[in-house]
Symmetry: D2
Subunit: 358 residues, 4 copies
C-alpha cells in the first residue's frame, strides 16, 4: 500500500486520477490538492464521489511539504508551476509523476520557444523520464521524475511509432529524408481543462467544430522529439488539433504521403505486420482488424488505445488512425500505468475497467 497525493485534484485530469486511484487496491489517497477549493470538502466540487470521499478536504500545500508524506505525487498543473516546485530534495523523498508539460521536452530552448516562459529547473531535465509507458518501462521503473506525455502526444506517437521505431520510414524520399507526416487530431472539450472561459462555454463549443492553434500547438515539439529520438533522421510533424463537441476522446488521423513517383511504396500487409509486431502482447493497445477503424466511443472511460492502419494504393499514402480517452490513456490512466511500473504493481492494476458505452 503506497500513499498518493494529487496536486490539482479538482481539474478534469485530477478528478480522473481520484476516480481511478480511489479504486486502486494498492493505493491510499492521502492528499487532494486545490488552490481554488482550498479548505473546502472535495465533494463540494465533485459531487460524484459523495459517499466515498466525504472526508476529504482540499488543501493548497506546497510540493515540498507533501513530499514528506506521500510515496507518489501526481501533479496536474498548468505549465510553469511544477518546475518551480520540484527540486532535488523533493525527488529524494517521493516519486513525482507530472501530468504537465514542464519535464517533457529535453531541450530547454525548445521548451522556452514553444511555451514562451523560462524554465525554472532545467538542471532536472536530464533526470526526467518521458513516461510513454509502452516503450519506456525500464526507465520509468527507475526514476523519481516521470514526465507524463500529453494527451495528443500519446495518441499521436502510439499511432505512428511502429513506422518509426522499426526504421520503416527511413530513406523513403529520394533526398533521403522522411516523407511528410501530417496529424489531424480531434479532441473533446475536457482536453482544454476545467477553467471557465468563453472558449469553453457550452454554447460556444456545442454544435460546432474548429481547428485551433494551427502549426503552433505545444504538443508538436513533444511528438517530434520522441519520434526523432527513435529515428535516425530529423522528424518534422504537421500537427493540427480540432475541438469536437463532446466531453472525452481524442482521434488522431495521421497521413504519410509516400510520393507520386511511386518508386517507394508499401502494402497493407506489410504495415499491419509492423503494428502487430510492435504491439504484440500490449494489454492497452488494440490493433483493430483490417477494415475497422477507431471511434472514440469504444475507448471511453478506459486506458485503451485503438489503432487502425490503412494503405491507399491509389495515392501511395499511409493512413493511421488512433483513438484514446484523453483523460485516461491521455492523462490519468497512463500516469497510473507509470506508477504501477515504477512501484512494481501489475501494470494494468486499477486500469482494467472496460470502456463505458454508450
Amino acid at each position: 500500500m503506497i500513499k498518493a497525493g494529487i496536486v490539482g485534484a479538482t481539474g478534469y485530469a485530477g478528478i480522473e486520477l481520484v476516480r481511478l486511484l480511489s479504486q486502486h487496491p494498492s493505493v491510499t489517497l492521502t492528499h487532494l490538492g486545490s488552490q481554488t477549493y482550498d479548505q473546502k470538502p472535495y465533494i463540494d466540487t465533485v459531487s460524484s464521489f459523495r459517499g466515498k470521499l466525504d472526508d476529504y478536504v482540499c488543501r493548497n500545500a506546497p510540493v515540498e511539504e507533501l513530499a514528506d508524506s506521500c510515496d507518489v505525487l501526481f501533479l496536474a498543473l498548468p505549465h510553469g508551476i511544477a518546475s518551480r516546485q520540484i527540486n532535488e530534495k523533493v525527488l529524494e523523498k517521493t516519486c513525482i509523476i507530472d501530468l504537465g508539460a514542464d519535464f517533457r521536452l529535453k531541450d530547454v530552448k525548445i521548451y522556452e520557444k514553444w511555451y514562451g516562459i523560462p524554465h525554472s529547473s532545467p538542471h532536472l531535465l536530464p533526470r526526467a523520464v518521458y513516461g510513454l509507458s509502452e516503450f519506456e518501462r525500464s526507465s520509468v521503473s527507475k526514476t523519481n521524475l516521470i514526465a507524463n506525455p500529453g494527451c495528443y502526444t500519446t495518441c499521436s506517437i502510439l499511432t505512428l511509432a511502429p513506422l518509426i521505431r522499426t526504421g520503416f520510414l527511413s530513406g523513403f524520399t529520394d533526398s533521403g529524408g522522411y516523407p511528410p507526416i501530417l496529424i489531424d487530431a480531434k479532441s473533446g472539450v475536457s482536453g482544454a481543462g476545467r477553467k471557465a472561459g468563453t472558449a469553453s462555454h457550452y454554447c460556444e463549443t456545442n454544435e460546432s467544430i474548429k481547428a485551433y492553434k494551427i502549426a503552433s500547438h505545444r504538443h508538436t515539439p513533444e511528438i517530434e522529439q520522441y519520434l526523432e529520438m527513435n529515428s535516425d533522421e530529423p522528424v518534422r510533424v504537421q500537427f493540427t488539433p480540432h475541438l469536437v463537441p463532446m466531453n472525452r476522446g481524442i482521434l488522431c488521423t495521421a497521413y504519410i504521403p509516400l510520393g507520386h513517383t511511386g518508386k517507394k511504396t508499401t502494402s497493407l500487409d506489410e504495415l499491419r505486420g509492423l503494428y502487430l509486431e510492435t504491439y504484440d502482447n500490449e494489454f492497452f493497445v488494440r490493433i483493430l482488424p483490417e477494415g475497422i477503424f477507431p471511434e472514440t466511443r469504444w475507448v471511453k472511460g478506459s486506458n485503451y488505445i485503438d489503432i487502425g492502419i490503412f494503405f491507399d494504393e491509389r495515392t501511395n499514402t499511409i493512413i493511421a488512425v488512433g483513438a484514446i480517452d484523453n483523460l485516461v490513456k491521455g492523462a490519468a490512466g497512463q500516469a497510473i500505468q507509470n506508477m504501477n511500473i515504477r512501484f512494481g504493481f501489475e501494470e494494468n492494476e486499477g486500469l482494467r475497467s472496460l470502456p463505458c458505452f454508450p
Copy 2:
C-alpha cells in the same frame, strides 16, 4: 462462481450487463444472446469489449435450453417475449432476472390494458418478486423469478418512497385521500433502446426536448402499484416522461402540492428526517445535503441514486428530485444488485465503481 447468461446482450441494457458482469468477481459469462447478431462475434457490435470478450459469439438460443447451463439468466427483451419463454421447468433450473415488463405488474388486467397484448403466463405472476432491491431484499433472496423494475419506475419510487412507506402522506387531504402526486421525468436517449428509428435518429433528438406518452407511459401503473402496495390508500400518479439530448441519465422531479388551505403542512426538517431514516445505511442511495439537488452527471456509470428534498412554504408543496443512470440503477446495475442478493454475494459486489465525470 456462478454461470450467467444474457438474452438480449446487444441492446443498451444488455451491453451494460456485459460490462458489469464481465468485471464481477463471482460471475462467469456463459451466454451472450442476440437475435440480430446470431452467430456473429459479440465484439462486432460492441467494439469496446475487444481484447476482453473476443471469443464470445452471439447466439439466439431459447430460454429453456439456456436454463440448463446457466445459474442465472438476465432477460433484456421487449415486452411480451419473456412471458412466452418462461415456464415452471425453467424456473426450477435457473434464476430469471427479467429486465422487461412482463412480470412487474401483479394484475394481469392492468398489464393487458397498458401493454395492449394478452399476457402469456399469468399463472407465474404470483411467483414473481418485484426487484426493487432496497426494499425487497428478503423476497428477492428467495425467488427464481425477479421482475427488475423499469428505469423511470426505479427513480420515481425511490424518490417518493419515504413519503409513502412511512404513512406520512396518508390523510393529508380533507377528503382523506392522498394529495396529487406529479412526476415530471427526463431521460437520456439510451432509455428508448438501441433499435434504429426516426425517433432515435441523432438529428431528430439532438438540440431538442419534448414530452412524450403524456398520461400513457407504461411505467405509470408500475409506480402506482408499488406505492399503493406500501400505502393504506389508493395512489394515482401523474407521470410525464421527457426526452433529453444525452446518452444516459434519468431525472425525476416529483411534486406533491399539499393544498392552499394550509391546514396540513410540513417542514424541510421533517421531510429530511423521513428520507435519512428510510435510507439510513443504504450504500446506493445518497440523500444530498440541504440545498443541493441531483444532476445526472454525478451518477453516470454508477449504481447510485441521488435524492434531494425540498419544501416550498410559499406554495405548501413538497418537491423531491431523484437522479439515476438509467442503464445502471435503472436496469443492469439493479439487476446485478438483485443477483447479488439472490446468490448471497455482497450486495454491492461488482457495482462499486464510481461515477465517471465528465
Copy 3:
C-alpha cells in the same frame, strides 16, 4: 425607417437582436453597445455577421446619450442596470424596450425581495408596460417603456393564459381558490447568458440534466403577477426550471390537478375550445392538433410558440405544454414584435423566417 440601438449587443439576446434587426426592412442599426468589447469591431466577437456588419464597432455609451440618436433602444442587460440608466428625459426622447427584469414587476417590494437589490427608479414602474405582445398590444403601442417578458415567463404565461383569462379556473376548488398550478420548465444553456463560468462550461452541462433555483427562480413572481392581473383570485405558481444540454429552446410542462374528489372536472374538447378561441388568428401561436405535443426543435430560430393541451381523465388533471425558442419569442423576437406594434409596422415584420430544422 427607424434608428435602433442595442445596449448589450454581444450577449446571446443581443446577438439575436442584431441578427433579426439587421434583416428588418424598416430598421437601421445605429449602435451596438458592449462594455466588454468597447472599441472593438463587433464581428470580432460574433464572426457570423462578417460581410454584413464589418463596419460596426462596439461602444460603451450611456443610455442618456443614445436616447438622442436612436428612435428605439433595446436593453439586454443584467438586472439592476437599466433602472439606473433610464429616466424621464430618456423616455421623452426614445422608446426603451428593456429585455431585462427591472421594469417587469409592478410591486417594488416583490422586485426587491426576489432580486435582492433596491430598485433604482420605482417611480417609473407605473409607466412601464409589460410587453406580452399577444395580450398587450394596445398598451404597448402607446408607451415609451416596454418591459419585455422573461423567457420562461413568456412560455409559461402563453401556455396557461387561456385557462386564466377566460375565468375557466376560477372556483375550481371547494374553498373557492385556484387549484395548484405547477410548471416544470426546461431550458437550453443560452438562457443562462454568455458570461463564462463553471456552470456554463461545456463539460459541466453536457450529458446532464438538473433542476436549479427550485422555488426561487425570479421568473416566478413575474408569472404570478401576470396571471393574477388577469384573474379574479390570487395565483400561486410552483415553478421549477431545469437545464438541458442544448443551445436553444424552452419547454414548459404545466400541470393543474383538479382534485381527486372529481366534483369539478373538464374535457379535452372544452380545453381545446378555450385555447383555439384565445389564440384565434394569432400569427405566432400554434395550437397543435389533438395528440401532438411541442418539441423545441420545431420552433428553433423562429418567433413561434407551439402549445399542446391535454386532459387526463384518470387523474383529473390538465396538462399544457408550450415550446419556444428562448432567444426569439423568449427575448429578441418578442422585443421586435413589440417594436413593430409600437411603431406601427406589421406585427410580424422581420419575424417571419421559418424555424430551422435540424
Copy 4:
C-alpha cells in the same frame, strides 16, 4: 414568379429547400414529393412549417409528370434514381437541379467504379453542368440539367480552388507533378441523411468521433475531376471524412506539403493574395483575416463559406481550412443559388439570411 417542385422533400436537404424556397420572393412551391409520406400532410413530418405549409400534401409523382407543371425541379434523391427518371423530354420542359450524384461525374466509368451501379443515362452526361456556382455561372445560366455539387465537394473545392485555378501549384515537385493534397473533412450527422439506421442512432454518434469510408468516399472523384478540369496536371486527392456529433456543418482541413527540400516554397502573403483575388466580390465567400480560422458555428443556417489560409514555414506546408453549412452551401443553398443564376434572379435572392448563432 416561377413554379418549383421538390422530389425528396422530407429528407434533410429537401426540408432545407422547402425552408428557403418558401421564403423566396420569386418562387411558388407547387410540389413536395415523398415516397415515404405519400398522401400525408407535409407538416406531419416537418412540424416546423405548421402555420405556413398546412395545405401541402406529399405526393409520390414521377419526374416526367412534374416536368409539365414545374419550371424548376429540385431532386434530392439517393444516387441511381435521378438518372432513371430524367430524359430529353423532361429536359425540354423543365430545368432539373439534381442534388444527387448521378450527373456530377463526367466519366461514366468513374461513376460506375465508385458507385458500384451502372449509369442509366450516360448520354445525358455531356448536357449536365457541374453547378459550382462561384465558378460556373455562365454554363449554369444556360442549361436545363444542373448537377449540384456534393457537400464535402463544395467545401473542399472552394477551399482549394485558388491554389489550382491560378496555376499556382503546377510544377511544385521536382518530378513536375503536384505535391500531395490531403483533405481531412469533418461533418455533422445531417450529412448522412434522414434515413434511420444504427449508424445514425443518437447514442451511436453522440459523444464520439470517427473517420469513415477512408480512401473510398464517393466525393473523392468529384473533387479530383473538378480540380483536374481546372489544372494542367493530373490531380490525386487524399480525402478522409469524419463524423462529428452535431447536426449541421462541414469543416475541411486541407494540407499541401511542399516538401522538405525547400527548393520550392511560398509565403502567407502570396497565398492570401491568391485567395483574395480569386474570391474578390463573391457574396458568399468570406476569406477570414490573417490568424482567424473557420468554425462551423459561424456559418450555420447560411449560404456562406468561410475560408482561412495559412503557411507553415517550419514544415513548408500550406494549410487551408473551409467551413460551410452542409445543408445550405453544401446542398439546398447552392441549389437555389444555381436556380437564381439560371432564372436571372439576383444570385443571393432568398439566401441572404444571416447565420444563426448559437
